[in-house]
């Protein structure tokens, strides 16, 4: 028996339950209990499940009759841990939620905190946030493309996409010092202004990238093998997507143009000119086309934001929430007091709950934060797109082969950190 207060308990191998029919009896069909169909465990450690996801498959020969996802193998207790830290320190944990969209998680959290405490964000910070979020979106789609093509045995695509991703990670390292977990976007703006080389690095990336996306398209888009493995597989219609709360490229590939950046614009997205790519395919191929088109749209947004980047401060001046620069500490008494208060206790947020949704590469992600007049949040809830999108696995995979299952999981683009938190 496992009890949370006994932290020193070692877990023995014997505790792990095999495909235990008792636990899933009410979910599998009659035929499984009679022994006509086979129950197979596509276990937590698997090269194609994109993380630690356990799928219980009920197979009739090679055809999937039912597929029951079992999650929780990466549950980290982040939401509970954030209740014991003040708002600035809790942001460090948001990087690790959806670990392919670090800047996007930070942005979503900061928008929620800023809405809760009613803090302004200067224009330069908003434009830079847009650039970083779009760069992160491209990086996430590159990994998606690499790994899902790798699952369908197109191995060279993986090496090409990782090469481009290194360019984006070099830009992140230039501005913040870390490749992935940057915590660069803070409540009130950004941590620091970008260095002088930022603009030329991003322009170089923008010059190189369009032709590289063309390269990926020549490898996959008109490839007969790829089309055979992806057309008419994993089909879900738009109404079902609405009922099941599916957002992101999955619903856009079913025809509905729902994008949070257009529906509830944040951080100045309304001033940029971009389209929402949709596709009528509703299948894996449609999702592929949508994501590649989204990469191109992101390049357009970065181009516009970079050319119109305003000058000015990158963090709000409200010293009740944003610490003063260290140069002021030598001359101003108020600065010392604010610095002291913010570093020892942190700022307090009023009672009440807010929800802010943003568009992550996977769908709508958002934070619901409730304050309680103190420095620690009362509740931080993270709405992960993968948690919602994974519920339709049974719907998508019924009647297909086991080999198609791999392609379907790749096309929904789940990240287990997002799902299990």
């Amino acid at each position: 028996m496992n009890n949370g207060s006994d932290v020193n308990s070692i877990v023995h191998a014997a505790d792990f339950n095999d495909v235990n029919v008792e636990e899933f009896k009410h979910l599998v069909s009659e035929r499984a209990l009679k022994g006509e169909t086979m129950l197979l465990n596509m276990g937590p450690q698997h090269p194609s499940t994109h993380g630690v996801l356990r799928l219980l498959l009920e197979l009739d020969g090679e055809t999937v009759v039912n597929c029951i996802p079992d999650i929780g193998f990466l549950h980290t207790g982040i939401e509970k841990n954030m209740e014991y830290k003040n708002y600035t320190k809790a942001e460090v944990m948001t990087d690790r939620l959806d670990y392919l969209n670090n800047m996007g998680n930070n942005l979503s959290y900061c928008l929620a905190v800023e809405k809760l405490i009613d803090l302004d964000v200067p224009l330069r910070a908003q434009a830079l946030r847009v650039i970083l979020a779009e760069l992160q979106r491209i990086a996430s789609h590159l990994i998606w493309l690499g790994t899902s093509a790798l699952d369908l045995a197109a191995m060279s695509v993986f090496l090409y996409t990782m090469r481009e991703r290194e360019m984006i990670l070099d830009i992140f390292e230039l501005i913040s010092g870390a490749r992935m977990m940057t915590t660069y976007i803070r409540p009130g703006g950004l941590w620091r202004d970008v260095p002088v080389e930022f603009e030329s690095a991003v322009r170089k990336f923008l010059d190189v990238m369009p032709r590289r996306i063309d390269e990926y398209e020549t490898l996959l888009t008109n490839n007969d093998l790829f089309i055979d493995r992806t057309k008419n597989i994993g089909v879900i219609c738009a109404d079902d997507c609405m009922r099941w709360g599916i957002t992101g490229p999955v619903i856009r590939a079913s025809g509905k143009p729902y994008d949070v950046r257009k529906a509830r614009p944040y951080s100045g997205y309304e001033q940029y000119d971009f389209v929402i790519p949709t596709d009528e395919g509703c299948d894996i191929y449609g999702r592929y086309r949508v994501r590649v088109a989204e990469m191109r749209e992101s390049l357009k947004i970065i181009q516009q934001a970079l050319s119109r980047l305003p000058y000015g401060p990158v963090r709000s001046n409200n010293r009740k929430f944003v610490p003063p620069p260290r140069s002021e500490l030598g001359t101003s008494m108020e600065a010392v007091i604010h610095h002291f208060k913010l570093w020892t206790e942190g700022f307090s947020a009023p009672k009440g709950g807010v929800y802010v949704g943003t568009e992550s590469p996977r769908g709508e992600q958002g934070f619901y934060i409730e304050g309680n007049d103190g420095p620690y949040p009362q509740r931080v809830f993270y709405r992960g797109p993968s948690f919602a999108n994974l519920q339709i696995m049974p719907l998508l995979s019924r009647g297909h082969f086991v080999a198609d299952l791999v392609g379907i999981i790749g096309s929904i683009d789940i990240v287990l950190g997002d799902c299990d938190r």
């Binding site: 792990f16 193998f73 549950h75 980290t76 944990m93 992935m180």
Partner: protein, 163 residues
């Protein structure tokens, strides 16, 4: 040196058994795919062309524990996942090594709570720890080279001792 002097340039090299076996083991150590969370992405970046690990013989990431020598625990291990980890470690045939990649695997890093195993050495014995959150691919390669040095230093007594 005696045999070589007599045979001259016949293309014969003499080594002792320990050196040969250790050389063979380090030069083609196959890692098992055990990427759990964010560190897995940096492990994938280490395998890609920019920071190639295939120059160390590790391009083949075997998903099956029966065919691998090295288990790189990359990412945070939750209490639900710990029995799975132990079972996979038990399924790996000897000789096997464990490299704990990242802060979460070594000491749980940022997360000090009910849901995670506080350091993967509570579940499996670890040979090399690599720090970082996530460690750069170069840090991972440094960890792999440290492991290679450790393996090269192993002797007959280590092989035959029960682990």
């Amino acid at each position: 040196m005696g045999v070589e002097q007599k045979l001259g340039n016949m293309g014969v090299v003499t080594l002792n058994l320990e050196q040969t076996v250790n050389w063979a083991r380090t030069n083609s150590m196959w890692p098992m795919l055990f990427g759990l969370a964010c560190c897995a992405i940096e492990m994938m970046a280490a395998q890609a062309s920019n920071y190639d690990v295939s120059r160390f013989g590790m391009e083949l990431m075997r998903a099956s524990p029966r065919q691998s020598d090295l288990m790189i625990v990359a990412g945070r291990v939750s209490r639900k996942m710990a029995p799975v980890l132990r079972r996979l470690y038990d399924q790996m045939p000897d000789p096997k090594w464990v490299l704990s990649m990242g802060d979460c695997a070594s000491c749980t890093g940022v997360f000090n709570n009910y849901a995670l195993v506080q350091g993967v050495d509570e579940v499996v014995p670890v040979d090399v720890y690599v720090a970082g959150c996530p460690p750069r691919p170069e840090a991972l390669i440094h960890g792999i080279i440290t492991l290679h040095e450790k393996v090269r230093g192993e002797g007959l007594k280590t092989w035959t001792a029960t682990r």
